[in-house]
């Protein structure tokens, strides 16, 4: 094997490793996020329900279409999710004062507890995950990941 084919082979191997690392990290984060719901404030909720609560916002009163756009789901899908969350006491629905046809959605205190508990989980997870990186490694990691994410966002 000559020099350039050795390099090509090493590069191919590294990319396969990165592919495994990306998929593995993605799956681990999903699993850890699921496990994090097992506490007294979020018990019984699915991760999709928690992400709906996050999209509604801590102290916001948003029209349904705004929340649907944040989640990239249809209005019908969001309506089903919000009905369920309202029945469980996490979400309130009100009519807009300037346009009674418009439904606004906001969090109850119970919903705000879920959002704050979820934010807390994310803060703790990222602090622990990056604890072994030096400042320089963290900066390089952030720059490289931002570039990779931009590609995935453009494909999604």
């Amino acid at each position: 094997m000559n020099g350039s084919s050795k390099e090509a082979s090493a590069s191919r191997q590294r990319r396969e490793e990165i592919d495994d690392l990306l998929s593995g990290t993605f799956n681990s984060i999903l699993r850890i996020e699921e496990q994090s719901l097992d506490n007294r404030l979020t018990h019984g909720l699915t991760i999709t329900e928690v992400h709906t609560i996050v999209a509604i916002g801590l102290h916001e009163r948003n029209p349904m279409n705004v929340v649907a756009a944040r989640l990239n789901v249809t209005l019908a899908t969001l309506t089903t999710a919000v009905n369920k969350l309202a029945r469980k006491g996490f979400v309130d629905r009100t009519r807009a004062e300037d346009d009674r046809r418009k439904v606004l959605v906001s969090l109850t205190k119970k919903g705000r507890q879920v959002l704050r508990a979820h934010n807390l989980f994310h803060h703790q997870m990222i602090d622990e995950a990056l604890a072994d990186l030096t400042d320089e490694e963290e900066r390089v990691f952030a720059d490289a990941l931002a570039k990779v994410k931009a590609f995935f966002d453009s494909q999604a």
Binding site: R40, K109, R112
Partner: protein, 73 residues
Amino acid sequence: MATIDTVKEVLVENLDLEADKVTEDATLESLGVDSLDMVELICDLEEKCEVEFGEPEGIETIGQLVAHIDSLK
């Protein structure tokens, strides 16, 4: 009601703490307030004090908690 009294009231109600122990100098850690207790405490205080708490870092004592809430009023 003074903010410190509201904080006392919520902590006594939520965590069954003795009101006398909830002083300005007491740390949240010494009172046994963990991070999930803190989430509940913040949401209750937002409602009772009619403030939006935000996500401040470095609150370690009851006095700092009271000062933060008062700064939002």
